[in-house]
Amino acid sequence: MAQQPTVTLPPGRDNLKKPPVVSIGFLGWIRTNLFSTWYNTLFTLLGVYILYLVFPPLFQWAILDAVWSGEDRTVCEWYDEDKVKYRAGACWLMVKVYFNFFTYGFYPDELQWRINLAFIILAISFSLMFIPNFKKKHYVGIFLFVFYPFIAFFLLSGNESLGLEYVSTHKWGGLFLTFLLGSIGIVFALPLGIILALGRRSKLPVVRLLSVIFIEFWRGIPLITVLFFAAVMFPLFVPQGVEIDNLLRCIVGLTLFGGAYMAEVVRGGLQALPKGQYEAAQAVGLGYWKMMALIIMPQALRIVIPGIVNTFIGLFKDTTLVFIISLMDLLLTVFTTNSNPDWMGFPFEGYIYAALVYFIICFSLSRYSLRVENKLMVAKQG
């Protein structure tokens, strides 16, 4: 090889030696990220092959050949003269036909505005909570936790004296019921969790012991058995003649279960606070409840927002298990349409729709919790 000449660079950019074209820009990116070693090349080729195998047929099925409109199932699946079955791609028409059922269950069509109204109130108050410079957040919080549940209850179940027609909880269903059960996780389970966490950290042995037993019991058993318990044992535990609504049983079960998980999250926050906070609060003469309400809880809860959101995501996914006491949540509405003779034989479409709904909700929540976590981390370091 020829001797490398010693280069003396004259002023001016033109003569500067440029990096080789394969190590910068798009080509460089491909080289470092896809073909850096022989096995990475192998993996990349394999991955591209799998994508090639999966995506074109999937695209064909879900978009190109899909049926988006029509009257009944004959547009998705039909027979010619020789009784040979033909089938188009994905039958999204089925989801379209049942969209109302998937969203509201058996709730009467003409009364569905009440659900929408309740949801709009919720959405507006929630978005107020996320405006950074809004000063009166605590009023909104009190409204959401104290008054909103009652307003929502009257709107949804109706009240004759208010001129709202009564709708039995048997007719509640669909995505709306899923939202309702999920929000139980925050509205009831979080306060229960806070009380249990305080009980577990209490200096009184009896209180501590009871809290520990309670928390470990509910955390130790699967939710299915909790719901079985709610379905068949609650009626035995109340005085004779008292009927508990099926939905209420389920809500109590979910609250007890979720409360135990929330308690462990909140406890983490309580333990993470430096001891000085407790001592300083006591030094200025605050009693136990004032110390907790004004000094400890606001800080502890802020630390564990990501944990609370994650527990909430878990609870939200777990609400699907209410099928065990035959509540018509989103999943069960999809499941029922599968056995409906009009639209039998399109299981993929329904489940993919439901999965998409759950995914969008849970994924955006988990991104939110991740963002809060990063923000907290920065705040801690800075």
């Binding site: 470092t32 896809l34 991955g47 009184l204 209180v207 058995t225 996914k317 993929f348 994924f363």
Partner: protein, 396 residues
């Protein structure tokens, strides 16, 4: 200066304001409330049960169960067997699902977790997408998807999906070869166990030797040799005493081999793929928890890549991974109760479902079912606490 003697007089002791007294009062009230609540519930339950004519006590356990259990890999259950027998069968089926599920979830979870950290962009994105999709869709929905959608479009027995003429997948389930031990298999097994015990001692000895003299021996290849050669030799002596019975298509169905019913296949798929996504996240955070300086320092003292992985990365990552991994195992076991949704005969389906329907003895049956899961949870968390204490970094 005049000191006012009034001020420095110690304050009068007020028994009602002393902390000890208050704590006793509060605790007694809590205890009293709790006990009266429990008594109230018991009283209600007793009245309700007498009113509805529900029996109580555990005598029903020894009565004939009057039902069949469709799927029993271990022991048979016939209608003349007792409810207690059904209880045991349910537990065994739950354990079966849990053990196989944990096995696959671990392997898959580690692969995906390591793949997520790969420097290959495509692999890392692929694993990331897998984790996010599987984690954010409810398990029950996934279970229904596998059972009611995917497994329903499988071919009939005649056109089964075939892997190497040994594994067949069709509408009736998954058929796999059945290992049947023949004479001499016990000797092979014994050789295997002895070899493992020998290797354990060898590793211990090698460690002591290295600590004393600093000399290393190629322990891995020696162990592999000790494990394989004698076992192969004994197997050869007995003419390979393990026979695999292949499933064979006879008429409309398969004979021979082991049949995994579709319920079980769907449950295993859903449980292991779902849990794998969570395990992958644990593995990833465990590996990321290792300080970069650790790896740089080990390169600086001259360890090669494999040594770094074996001596530096894995021991430290496992310390972080194992506690959440155990809780994932526990979750998988608890989630296996979703079997009831697709009628796989696990503990909840057999006992808290069928047996409860027949006897109506909700309290006893649910208490027994819950205590199985509770025992498991508490045992595992005790083991975990012990492990954490043993593995905690000791300050020197």
């Amino acid at each position: 200066m005049n000191i006012n003697s009034e001020i420095i007089k110690p304050p009068k002791k007020d028994i009602f304001k002393s902390g000890k007294f208050r704590s006793i009062v509060i605790q007694s009230i809590v205890m009293l409330l709790f006990i009266s609540f429990v008594l109230w519930v018991i009283d209600n339950a007793a009245t309700n049960m007498t009113a509805n004519g529900i029996a109580h006590g555990f005598d029903f356990l020894w009565e004939n169960s009057m039902f069949d259990i469709g799927y029993l890999p271990f022991i048979d259950h016939t209608p003349v067997d007792t409810y207690f027998h059904a209880f045991i069968v349910g537990i065994l089926n739950t354990i079966l699902i849990a053990v196989i599920g944990i096995f696959f979830a671990t392997i898959f979870g580690f692969l995906i977790g390591i793949g997520r950290l790969s420097d290959n962009w495509l692999v890392s994105r692929f694993c990331g997408a897998y984790i996010e999709i599987l984690r954010n869709v409810p398990l029950l929905l996934q279970l229904f998807f596998w059972y009611h959608a995917v497994l329903r479009i499988l071919p009939r027995a005649k056109n089964s999906l075939n892997a190497g003429d040994s594994f067949f997948l069709n509408l009736k389930g998954l058929f796999i070869p059945k290992p049947i031990p023949e004479t001499g298999f016990n000797s092979v097994l014994l050789t295997f166990i002895v070899a493992i015990i020998f290797i354990i001692y060898l590793i211990r000895w090698a460690k002591q030797r290295q600590a004393k003299t600093g000399q290393q021996i190629p322990i891995f290849s020696i162990s592999l040799g000790i494990l394989i050669l004698p076992v192969m030799f004994v197997s050869f002596l007995y003419n390979f005493p393990l026979y695999f019975e292949q499933p064979v298509l006879k008429g409309f169905n398969f004979k021979g081999g082991i049949r995994l019913i579709p319920e079980m296949v769907a449950l295993l798929l859903a449980l292991s793929l779902y849990t794998a996504a969570f395990i992958a996240e644990n593995v990833r955070s465990g590996i990321l928890a290792i300080n970069k300086g650790q790896i740089e320092a080990s390169s600086a003292v001259g360890l090669n890549r494999i040594q770094i992985l074996r001596l530096i990365i894995i021991p430290q990552a496992m310390r972080v991974i194992i506690p959440p991994l155990t809780s994932q195992y526990l979750n998988l076991t608890k989630n296996s109760s979703l079997a009831v949704a697709i009628a796989y005969p696990d503990l909840v389906h057999v006992f808290a479902g069928t047996a409860l329907m027949q006897t109506g003895q909700a309290i006893e049956i649910l208490a027994m079912t819950m205590s199985v899961y509770l025992t498991l949870s508490i045992t595992i968390s005790l083991l975990m606490n012990w492990y954490n204490r043993a593995m905690a970094l000791k300050d020197r």
